[in-house]
């Protein structure tokens, strides 16, 4: 998945995130959540998934609680609170769905974070927003430099100022910050002049990216196109409609709807399939050497 061209992986995540946020049908959400969790596990290992789940699960609980406690619509009352408001089945189910949606979205974002690294994102935005992406990539490169400058100026201050007392550290920090800022700003102007001398702004900017469009990209892109088309067709033909209030109504699991859900499941399983195939290939190549 990481080796794929950033355009196809970006299209994949856009599709998955939009469908996850758009369709609140329990079947779609569960498939999305399982797919997201599986993909994250395939990309980062079970440890990475566990790290995320540690705070996603409390978030889910909070969401269910939030909806059950503050939303009193719906016709099926489960029990009554002491102030006379009802906790309804509908709002609880809605809370469950919203929680699943949120968790799936967060986990998909986690996968995206693994696949679309900052350099790929910059290459992707490079043709759309060239100045912004240049600005951000320069800033990204300057973060470690700023931290290093801060440390250097702080150490130099410490060696020569001879301050003591409780206010010594904050005062030194402010001085170090102030020194770093002038240093970085002067340096920035030199960089800018150098850019200008090398012809910045004369023609169209070109971009460095290592991605090539090969057979696997075409294959993945076509598969994604077909699956996306079928999934969207299924959604618009009513396999993912849901009504929460006043009473629950979901699309039933008929043959047609099941087929649409299968398409969505296949879409969500794509990262797992790719990672699995790569792992298998790796193992096989290892045994023959």
């Amino acid at each position: 998945m990481r080796a794929l061209h950033c355009a196809v992986s970006c299209a994949f995540f856009a599709l998955v995130l939009i469908v996850t946020m758009l369709v609140l049908h329990p079947a779609y959400l569960l498939i999305s959540l399982i797919g997201a969790a599986g993909s994250l596990a395939a990309l980062t290992g079970l440890h990475g998934l566990g790290q995320r789940l540690k705070w996603v699960l409390p978030l889910m609980l909070l969401t269910v609680f939030f909806n059950a406690a503050f939303q009193h619509r719906g016709v099926t009352a489960l029990f009554y609170l002491h102030n006379g408001n009802a906790v309804t089945l509908e709002s609880t189910v809605f809370g469950l769905c919203a929680a699943t949606m949120l968790a799936a979205a967060v986990l998909w974002c986690g996968c995206m974070h693994q696949v679309l690294t900052s350099d790929k994102l910059m290459a992707l935005t490079g043709w759309l927003l060239p100045s912004i992406s240049l600005l951000l990539s320069m800033a990204l490169r300057m973060v470690p430099r700023v931290l290093r400058c801060l440390k250097e100026t702080y150490d130099a201050q410490k060696a020569m100022d001879g301050l003591t007392g409780p206010l010594a550290v904050p005062r030194r920090c402010v001085r170090a910050l102030s020194g770093t800022v002038s240093w970085m700003l002067e340096h920035a102007v030199v960089t800018a002049d150098s850019m200008k001398a090398r012809g910045y702004g004369v023609g169209r900017r070109t971009h460095f990216h290592r991605e090539t469009w090969g057979q696997s990209e075409t294959l993945f892109g076509l598969t994604l196109l077909v699956l996306a088309g079928l999934t969207l067709l299924g959604i618009f033909s009513g396999s993912g409609t849901e009504v929460f209030y006043p009473s629950l109504q979901f699309s039933p699991p008929t043959m047609k709807n099941l087929a649409a859900w299968c398409c969505w499941a296949l879409t969500c399983a794509l990262p797992m399939l790719i990672e699995g195939k790569e792992a298998l290939q790796w193992r096989r190549s290892g045994s023959t050497i």
Binding site: I18, M21, L22, L24, L62, T63, F66, N67, F70, Q71, R73, S91, F94, G95, C97, A98, A99, M101, L102, A105, V106, C109, G110, M112, H113, S118, L129, P130, S131, I132, L135, L136, M138, A139, L140, M142, V143, R145, V146, L147, L150, P170, V174, L177, S178, T180, V181, S182, M184, L185, E186, A188, V189, T191, A192, D193, M195, K196, G201, F244
Partner: protein, 235 residues
């Protein structure tokens, strides 16, 4: 375009276009998709500023100075990563807006929120943070950019209220939209109430950073601005 006309144009974009988008979103998507609509509106409301910046093909000096300010904000957030509410990002954004104007403030705010989340984790909250810090930078430009060396007290008061009344509540309401599909008054009040302590600490931290480093940093930025004629009328 002069600084003044630029400010006016940017103000129209922010004050007219964003509410119009919110209205459109609620009319077209009237069926409880607050989450998706809110994220789309947030992203769309970021776009005009970015595209405008793109269209006037900025000078190299401008780009590099802005990237230094963004890097400062991100490095500051990383340096204080052990205390989530205690971060200097808002202070850096306010100083950029005050020194270089509305547009620069907005870009530094949105950019530092976006980039710092590469270190702290991207998620559905990223567009909200971008908009929140972007607005703070924009307002700082609106209030302070036309003055020569604004006073420390004014900066501190602005910093506290911008974080406590604008950024914090915006993110709190954003989290309500994230966790509950049906927005009720009680839910929003509860979220705002639970966020008061966090926002107060964040606002206090901003005041502290502005009080300690505000004036010296502004002097430095002004010096660079005058010395090299960057991001001013004479460019």
């Amino acid at each position: 375009m002069s600084e003044r006309a630029r400010t006016r144009f940017a103000a129209v974009l922010m004050l007219v276009l964003v509410p119009a988008l919110v209205l459109l979103g609620s009319l077209v998507w009237a069926n409880r998709r607050f989450y998706l609509v809110s994220i789309l509106v947030t992203i769309l409301s970021l776009l005009p500023m970015l595209l405008r910046f793109e269209r006037r093909s900025p000078q190299a000096r401008e780009l590099v100075i802005l990237s230094v300010m963004i890097a400062l904000a991100v490095a500051g957030r990383a340096a204080f990563s052990f205390a989530p509410a205690f971060k200097p990002v808002a202070a850096v954004v306010i100083l950029s807006g005050a020194a270089f104007g509305c547009e620069a403030g907005f870009l530094v705010g949105a950019g530092s929120a976006f980039l710092s989340n590469f270190f702290f984790g991207q998620g559905p909250w990223t567009p909200w943070q971008m908009l929140g810090f972007g607005l703070i930078g924009f307002l700082a430009g609106l209030f302070f950019a036309h003055r020569y060396q604004p006073k420390r007290l004014g900066l501190c008061i602005f910093g506290f209220f911008a974080v406590f009344l604008l950024y914090g509540p915006l993110l709190d309401v954003g989290s309500v939209l994230m966790v509950s599909g049906d927005v009720t008054k009680e839910a929003i009040v509860a979220a705002l109430a639970t966020g008061v302590a966090f926002n107060a600490i964040h606002g206090g931290a901003t005041v502290l950073f502005l009080a300690l480093a505000g004036e010296p940093l502004l002097r430095k930025l002004d010096r660079v601005k005058i010395k090299y004629g960057i991001l001013s009328d004479a460019e």
